[in-house]
C-alpha cells in the first residue's frame, strides 16, 4: 500500500539558510533541509531547540530574517497562514487553535479560506471522516470532546483543503498510547496518498515507528540528518541533547519503611465551571521515602486534583486529606503549607509564580507560612532576600539576584527556582504537576535529582505528569487518573506499558466518541 517516496521528483519543501532572531535569542540559525513528496519527515529536537519557530515560519505565522523557502522547486514568500494554505500547507498545532464554545462544524468552517454552505461542508466532513474512519460528530460543541477528538477536528480541517504538506506539531503529547496508534495509521494513509508530513517531536520511539527521514535541531541549528529507521535511538538522543545521557542516582531509601504520610480518602469535588472535571472518590496513600506517580491524559482531573490537595479548593470532608494523621481537608492553602504540604502546579507563569513580581516577592508568595518571613504581617525583607539567594545558589538558578523579575527568567530557570523554593522549606509531602514541562534537558535532570533526594530524606512525593517516560523513570509506584477517577497504585517494576495505556484510555475516547458519531 505504502509507496516509497519518489526520489526524482523535486522536493515538496526546501529550506535554505533560514535564520530568525528574537530580542536576546537566536531561535533559528542557518537552517537547511528538504521534504520529499509523500515522505513523513521528522523534525527532532528538545524543547527550546527552535522547532516551533521554524514551523511557524513555514506556516507563515512568523517571517524569517534571512534565507529562502522553495515549494515544488519554486522560490516562495509565505507572508501569512492564508498564503501557506493557498500553497497547500496544513498545520495541526500542539496547542489546538480551537474555539471551545463553538461546534465542530463552526470550528472547521473557521479554518477554511472560502465560504462553504453549512450543509455542503457537513457532507464533505463526513466524506473525510468515513474515508479515514475517524469518529467525530460535527454538531457537538468542542468543550464536550476528548483531546483526541479535538485533534481530529484540526486534522479534518487540514484535510478539507487537500494539503500537499501537513505539519504536525508534537501531536502525541496529549494522547493515550492507543490514540497514538490510531493517529499513526491515519498519518500513514495520508502520506500514502502523496501528502508530505512534517512531524515535530522529541519522542524518539515515535519517530522510529513513523518517519522515513529526520532532521535534528539543537540550539536553533541543524546538527544532523538521518534515517530514523536505521539510526539507533541512543545515537539520536545524544545528537538531540548534545551530551551523553545522564542517569539519575537513586540513594537507598531511608529506614522506617512504609510510613504513610499523605492519606487521601474519598475525595470528591465538583469541577470548576465551565469546563472543569469532577473528582470522583479519589483515594491514595503516599509513603515516606517514595515517589508516587500519577499518569493520565491531559484534562482528566490532574489540575483539579492539585488544587484539591494544595488547599486552593477545599474538600467537603475534613478527613479527605490527612498529613501524618492530621486532618487537613478543610484547611486553606496557608494552613496546609504550614503543616508541610507543598505543591507545585503545572503552570509556572501566573500560578506557581507571578511573572511581574521579583524573585524575592515570589518567595513571599508561598514560603511565608513555613519560614519566619513575615511574622505579625510585616514582611522581613532581609530574611526574604536571604532565602531567595539561598534558593538561587542551591538550585543553580541563572539570574541576576532576588530583585530580578520572575518573568525575565527562562522557563527552565524559573522552574528550578520554584522547585527550589518549595524543596528548600523541607516539606513533609511535595506534590508536583509536570515538573519538567518545557524545561531543557539539563534543568530537567537537576529537578528530577532534587525530587529523588528529597524522597530519600523521608518526604513523600507525588508526581502528576503526562510524560509516561518521566514517570517510569522517577516513580516507585504508579496510578492513573481518568475522567476524575484514580486507579489503585501499582509498583512500577513489572508494569507493562499496554496496561497503563488501557487505564489511561479507560472508558474515555474511542467507545464514547464512536457512539456520538453514529448517534
Amino acid at each position: 500500500m505504502t509507496q516509497p517516496p519518489d526520489e526524482t521528483a523535486p522536493l515538496r519543501l526546501a529550506l535554505a539558510h533560514v535564520s530568525k532572531s528574537f530580542p536576546g535569542v537566536k531561535a533559528n540559525q542557518d537552517i537547511s533541509f528538504g521534504v520529499r513528496p509523500g515522505e513523513i519527515h521528522a523534525l527532532l529536537g528538545e524543547n527550546g531547540a527552535g522547532k516551533s519557530t521554524l514551523v511557524k515560519i513555514i506556516y507563515g505565522v512568523q517571517r524569517a530574517d534571512e534565507g529562502e523557502i522553495r515549494w515544488d522547486g519554486e522560490r516562495v514568500e509565505i507572508p501569512s497562514p492564508k498564503a501557506a494554505r493557498r500553497l497547500g500547507i496544513g498545520m495541526v498545532f500542539q496547542h489546538f487553535s480551537l474555539f471551545d464554545g463553538m461546534t465542530v462544524l463552526e470550528n472547521i468552517a473557521l479554518g477554511l479560506d472560502e465560504k462553504v454552505p453549512a450543509e455542503e461542508l457537513k457532507q464533505r466532513i463526513r466524506t473525510i471522516l468515513d474515508s479515514y474512519s475517524l469518529p467525530l460528530d460535527p454538531d457537538r460543541e468542542v468543550h464536550t470532546l476528548s483531546v483526541g477528538e479535538r485533534q481530529r477536528i484540526e486534522i479534518v480541517r487540514c484535510l478539507l483543503q487537500k494539503p500537499k504538506l501537513l505539519i504536525m506539531d508534537e501531536p502525541t503529547s496529549v494522547l493515550t498510547p492507543q490514540e497514538v496508534e490510531r493517529l499513526f495509521d491515519t498519518l500513514r494513509q495520508i502520506a500514502a496518498e502523496g501528502c508530505s508530513i512534517l512531524y515535530i517531536s522529541h519522542k524518539l520511539h515515535e519517530i522510529k515507528a513513523l518517519c522515513s527521514a529526520a532532521t535534528i535541531l539543537r540550539g536553533g541549528r541543524v546538527v544532523a540528518a538521518c534515517d530514523p529507521r536505521t539510526e539507533s535511538t541512543t545515537r539520536m538522543a545524544e545528537l538531540m541533547i548534545g551530551a551523553e545521557l545522564k542517569t539519575i542516582e537513586r540513594p537507598a531509601a531511608a529506614g522506617e519503611a512504609r510510613r504513610a504520610r499523605l492519606v487521601v480518602n474519598g475525595l470528591d469535588m465538583a469541577g470548576e465551571p465551565p469546563f472543569g472535571t469532577d473528582l470522583k472518590t479519589i483515594g491514595f496513600t503516599a509513603y515516606a521515602g517514595e515517589i508516587l506517580g500519577i499518569a493520565g491524559v491531559a484534562g482528566n482531573g490532574q489540575a483539579e486534583l492539585l488544587l484539591a490537595l494544595s488547599g486552593e479548593r477545599r474538600a467537603a470532608s475534613n478527613d479527605a486529606v490527612k498529613l501524618d494523621g492530621q486532618a487537613l481537608g478543610h484547611a486553606d492553602a496557608g494552613k496546609r503549607r504550614a503543616a508541610g504540604l507543598a505543591c507545585v502546579p503545572e503552570e509556572r507563569n501566573g500560578h506557581a509564580a507571578v511573572p511581574d513580581f521579583s524573585l524575592a516577592e515570589n518567595v513571599v508568595l508561598t514560603a511565608r507560612h513555613r519560614l519566619p518571613l513575615a511574622p505579625s504581617g510585616l514582611i522581613r525583607q532581609g530574611a526574604v532576600d536571604a532565602y531567595a539567594r539561598e534558593v538561587i545558589q542551591r538550585f543553580d538558578v541563572r539570574t541576576t539576584g532576588p530583585d530580578a523579575l520572575a518573568g525575565a527568567l527562562s522557563g527552565g530557570n524559573l522552574q528550578k527556582f520554584i522547585m527550589g523554593r518549595e524543596i528548600g522549606q523541607n516539606p513533609e509531602v511535595l506534590i508536583v504537576e509536570q515538573p519538567t514541562w518545557g524545561v531543557d534537558a539539563g534543568a530537567a535532570a537537576a529537578i528530577r535529582q532534587a525530587l529523588v533526594d528529597l524522597a530519600a530524606r523521608g518526604s513523600a512525593i507525588v508526581v502528576i505528569s503526562q510524560d509516561l517516560d518521566e514517570l517510569l523513570e522517577l516513580a516507585d509506584r504508579l496510578c492513573v487518573i481518568n475522567e476524575g477517577r484514580l486507579s489503585p497504585a501499582r509498583p512500577v517494576a513489572g508494569l507493562k506499558l499496554e496496561e497503563i495505556g488501557l487505564l489511561m484510555g479507560g472508558v474515555h475516547g474511542e467507545a464514547t466518541a464512536a457512539d456520538h458519531a453514529h448517534a
Binding site: K335, G350, D356, L365, T366, A374, I379, Q381
Partner: protein, 358 residues
Amino acid sequence: MLEWRRRSEPSRAMLYLSPLIAIALTMLTGMLVFTAIGYDGFHAVQAIFVTPLVEPQRWADLGVKAAPLVMIALGLAIGFRANVWNIGAEGQYVMGAIAGTGVALLTHDMTGWWILPAMALAGILGGAAWAAIPAFLKVRLQVSEILTSLMLSYVAVQFLYYLVRGPWKDPGGFNFPQTKMFSADQVLPAMAEGSLVHLGIPVALLLALAAWFVMGKTVSGFAIRVVGRAPAAARHGGFDAGRVTWVALLASGGLAGLAGLFEAAGPFGQLTPQFPVGYGFTAIIVAFLGRLSPIGIVFGGLVLAVTYVGGEIAQSTVRLPQAATGMFQAMLLFFLLATDVLVRWRLAFRRNPAKVAP
C-alpha cells in the same frame, strides 16, 4: 524607519518618566487644539499648567483641591491594584458627606472636641457602607462592581438632592435647597489664622504615607497586589480574593467618604446640590497619573489640582470655557495610557525590513 521593540524587562525609568511625557504631550496638544478652535492656546496652557505653580497666593487653593483628590485616589489605587474597579467613588464621597452631615445636624446644638471626629468617623462609615453594596454583590453574586458602583453614585446624588430639598432643608435658609451651616465645632480647623488650608491636607499626606507602608511592607498589601496581578497565583499562595475585594472596596469607600466629609466640613461648611463636583471621577485620573503608587498619587493629585485652579484662571484671562479643564484632564489620561506602552516597548531604528508588530 522606526519600529517597536519589546524590552526584555519593563523599564523602571519609563515607569516614572511616562507621566511626565504625558503631561508634556497634553500641554502641546492642548495648545494646538485650543489655538485651532480660536483661543489663545499658548496662554491658555500657561494659565492652566504654569500660573498656579508660580503664583504663591494660589498654593493654598492647590492644597485644598489636591487633598480630596489624593484621599480618594489612594483608595481607588488600592482597588485598581487588586483588579477591583470601583468607579463609583463620587457616590461614596457624597454618602460620606451625607453621613457626616447627619451627625452634624444631630449635634448642632452641642459643643465639644469630639463632634468633628464623630463626623469624620460617620463619613468613613458612610462611604464604606455605600461601597459595601458593590462588594457584597461582587463577592457573593459575581456582579460586576464597575456597573453597580457607578449606578450607585447616581443614586447617591439623587439622595443628596432629596435630603437638601426635603428633610434636611435649612428652615432659616430662604427656601434655598441647602442644610444649615455647620457650627464652629463642626468645621475643619484652618491650619493658620484666616487661611484656606485646612486639616484635610496634612491628613491626606499622612494617609499617603500609611498607604505606602501597607502596600509595600505588609502581607496585606502584598495580598492586594498579588490578587490583582495573578489571581491563580494568589489562591495558590493562600490569599483569599473575596476578602481582598472586600478590603479594597471598603478602604476606597471609606477614604472617599472621609474626603467627602472633609469637603463638607471644610470649603462648603454645609451640604448643597452643588456639592458633587466630580472629584470621584477626577481621582481616577489621579490614581493612574500616580502610577497607582501612594507617593505618586500625591504628585498626581497636585497636577490635577493645578488644572482645576489653572482652569479657573484661564476662564478669566483667556476666556476659556470651564469645560476646557475637563478636556485637559481627559487628554492627560489618554496620553498617560498611551505612553504606558513605553514601559514594555521601546522605539528603535529599523535594521531590516522585517515587520514586527507590537
